[in-house]
Symmetry: C2
């Protein structure tokens, strides 16, 4: 006979799950994600049970990453894209990942309130997540939250990150399909390349495409992407012109996302991406649990080693050996 | 009697070191940093010897991080700031950290060629570094390269990162003093806060301050920073107006950097920052060496676990346990 907590966990997971026949409870989904957030790198027995129960159901959602520099209109685009996906009958979970702010103790009000278009729609679940400093922006909690939304039956999990550089590389590691959003007036071609975006996008969308300079951004990006194409069989990322504000180009965006998903499945790339994602997830969990152990080591451990390195009596390699050995 | 390699390492380190009496050889410095870059997360015996030899000399450089969104003028500002510091007689090492590009196999030409103002000045050493994907942007090689430049005798080590979000948090972890660069027209206040900059800056500089909107950016930023100030004894980050292009406001910038350095030393914060930096460095080295072990584990190890997790037969926590146990 199962103990009381087993029953509770099973109930919570069952209540959170939605599907063609029944809606999941947003409140139960929220509780599951709170478990992830509260764990902050090291899962307790409750979260471990939840993850073990969800595991067989994970893998059917289309995980879409949406990233771009501040000011390109990520929030507006996410909002508009959710609307398009809803019209196509998809249940959509959204994770908005932001660097923590000392003022809010978490994600900012600006995010929490922005997507009121979909408030009250049971087919949309939106969550702002704080990315905690130490463990890396997306490295621990975001994959776990994706896993929850996928496992409870959302058709699409949309992860929006404020990102230039590293977090774009991270989002590409997490998503099946990465959308890079650009806008005119955000810096020239070299700036775009510096931000690492040429490596990570499966679909590029130039937002605010009714503004001056949009055609140039699109042309420049296309020629930069063409330089990088070597493999004939490879996916060629489309460069779309959209305007999230006036809701133009969104049908092409959704179509490109679906084409990419089909390509992933047919080329075998989906399995490879998901194995890579699983590797990173396993590593992130393992590293987080090691770090927690090291930091609990206190005065005999990392603190003493750090003081010795800062004082110049030990080099960091010898210190790392001591930590591991 | 030392073996041949010991003599070579000692020579290389000695040749690289510069000081009041003698100039270090830029070629030797370059070789040391190449050792760091080539190691890519796991140091061989040569690099370990170098680091052990440098260790007693590390800690006197002022490590300054300079970060900001693409388009704010980081490169121009770095160039101008190096000029100011040179006029004050400081030897300056610059690390320009960029996400890797598939086109260059490393840092982009744009960076390598941009700082010609200082070409041929033996008191300036400039290096573009590729930030490699897997181990995190700055987490492994940048602290090691800072250690090299500090250890061979540069008075200031300036680390420029393309950064919004995570890499800004990382740079703040590495630097004694973090300069956050902004510019008018780069998004409103909430956007700035989203990028996490309110947590990381010791000095804020509004570049292109002759343009429309600069006064508003400065005022908004000041009031946002004022909200966060709780501790009377804490450093209050100044918000400066500069123009790197027309070289105005740079003397105030240098003065603020020195004031902050003095504050760090007098308040005891310098030691705390450096211990924190040492902790992160030790952890990064330890994690990198573990990851290398895991990845060499091949089919018996991480690959199998990742396939099981991707296939839904194992949850990632159980996989992480298996990896660690």
């Amino acid at each position: 006979m199962p103990g009381r907590r087993d029953i509770e966990v099973a109930d919570l997971v069952e209540t959170a799950r939605g599907g063609p026949g029944h809606r999941g409870s947003p409140r139960a989904v929220a509780r599951l994600i709170s478990l992830v957030e509260d764990a902050d790198g090291v899962a307790g027995p409750l979260l471990r049970e939840v993850m073990a129960m969800l595991s067989p159901h994970v893998g059917s959602a289309h995980v879409i990453g949406l990233t771009g520099a501040p000011g390109v209109g990520k929030s507006t685009t996410t909002n508009a894209l959710v609307g398009e996906l809803r019209r196509a009958g998809k249940r959509v979970g959204v994770l908005a990942v932001d660097p923590s702010s000392p003022f809010s103790g978490g994600a900012l009000l600006g995010d929490r309130i922005r997507m009121t278009d979909h408030a009250g729609d049971p087919g949309v679940y939106i969550r702002s997540m704080a990315s905690r400093g130490h463990l890396g922006g997306l490295s621990w909690s975001t994959p776990q939250a994706i896993r929850v939304l996928d496992g409870v039956g959302f058709d699409v999990v949309l992860v929006e990150t404020v990102g230039v550089g590293q977090s774009e590389v991270e989002i590409a590691g997490l998503a099946d399909t990465t959308v890079v959003l650009l806008a005119p007036g955000m810096g020239d071609g070299i700036q775009a390349a510096k931000a690492g975006i040429l490596e990570v996008g499966d679909v590029y969308a130039i937002n605010k495409s009714d503004r001056d300079g949009a055609t140039k951004v699109r042309r420049d990006l296309r020629s930069m992407l063409a330089l990088g194409t070597r493999d004939e069989a490879a996916w060629r990322p489309p460069v779309l012109a959209i305007s999230a504000q006036s809701r133009t180009g969104l049908d092409e965006l959704v179509e490109s996302l679906e084409k990419h998903r089909t390509w992933l499945a047919e080329s075998g790339a989906l399995g490879a991406r998901r194995e890579r994602r699983a590797r990173e997830e396993i590593e992130a969990i393992a590293v987080a649990s090691l770090r927690a152990r090291w930091e609990q080591g206190g005065r005999e451990g990392l603190d003493d080693l750090a003081a010795a390195v800062a004082g110049g009596t030990l080099d960091p390699y010898a210190a790392a050996d001591a930590l591991l050995g």
